[in-house]
Amino acid sequence: MVTKPSFSEEVSNLMHASHGNPLKTCIQCGTCSGTCPVAEFMDHTPRRLIGMINANLKEEVMQSNTFWYCASCFYCTVRCPSEIDIAGLMYALKRYSIWKHQYSEEAIGPVFSETFVKSILRSGRSYEPVLAPSYIFSYGVREFLNEAHTATNLMLKGRLPVLPARIKRLENFKKVANRIIPMGGA
């Protein structure tokens, strides 16, 4: 008989190279939360979030801002006494939420990540000018003007490209990507 996987199993299946369910080995010690440099900005600390996943609180977890605050510093990962790849878990939750379109409206992270990926698939390289300014709008006019000031300074000092760089074998590059994820003529 097939049983529906628990939320904890679902998430652990999305963690690369994990065997069994590493989340079940969490001893709730809080080393991750104590180590995390952005824990104070999160609605739930990493320790609490893992507890919530194991308690099957799927909706609350998916609405949490915790994983979008993860800066990928991997401090929790190297310190976890149960050797859980906690930063890897945050990546898994990001992918899960983009995949299922389950993220809170004010989150900038998912939109930024998707825009970044699309922009790379267009040219093969990243191009900062289209990336940064569009999201700074969300922080209000003052922040946008500050950002424009920084961008102008970068431009004046020759540190911003005027045109996006493109790789030479772009067509082949797109075909490579298409064999992994068919993107309908991308």
Binding site: K157, N172, R179
Partner: protein, 292 residues
Amino acid sequence: MTTYSYFPGCSLEKMALSYHQSAMETTQALGVELQEIEDWNCCGSTSYFHVDELLAYTLVSRNLAMAEKSGHDLVAPCSACYKNAYFANAELKKDQDLADHINYALEQDNLKYSGSIEVKHLMEVYVEDVGFEDLHNKVTHPLEGLRVAPYYGCQIVRPRKDHEDVENPRFFEDLMTAIGADPIDYGHRLRCCGGSLLITSRPAAFQLIMELLQSAQNGQADVIATSCPMCQINLECYQTQINQEFGTDFKIPILFFTQLIGLALGLPPKKLGFGSEFVSADRIKTFAKEPA
């Protein structure tokens, strides 16, 4: 002569051009050749792994395959590129199914990766290939009296690769000692600069940047040395905004470790990319003196 396949990464084309210039100049002076990988593509940064892991590995593999074709190990100066290339390489060597799947996609660009090369961060070239002693012997303008805050950041040491010391690494300090500078001890040397939170969660990033600058300032650092273009941009280009936001008065130059090595080797600052700073580094240049 040691030769590497060099993967500069997107930031080094413009934003962190000084890192590229100083890396090329100093390696040349130290007898290491960096051959840029022809037609390399973006490593995907962290964003790719947020969206699709398999696609992220594939794009990194295209660069690995081109490096392998040239027959040299890959070197990346950016810590994020390095981390992506290192772990993609390790996974491909371990997981034959993954490698087969990715090689099937790479056929579209007439490439194949068989897993025969290693991946290094640029700093390892100075630490391991050149070595502290040889580097020290080649220094003509020791940076005596310069108080440097060596800033490791995250992805050069984390996640853990082999048996490296992730809690108390010393190679950056030792590198700075080798060029005659005085590395300071400060609490935030391994803490995150905020990375891409600068775009997605600005208040959090500003808090991290402020704490880092404060920590270096408390240690009376003349300069913070970095090994990652993202850290450099976050710490340098936003100092004015940080000062506005927190009422602080930071004016700390943020330079790449390769720029400091270049000064100590007596190379002209212009060739090392000096001149495009937001926070003036003129005072730092004056430390490079021939011994009386």
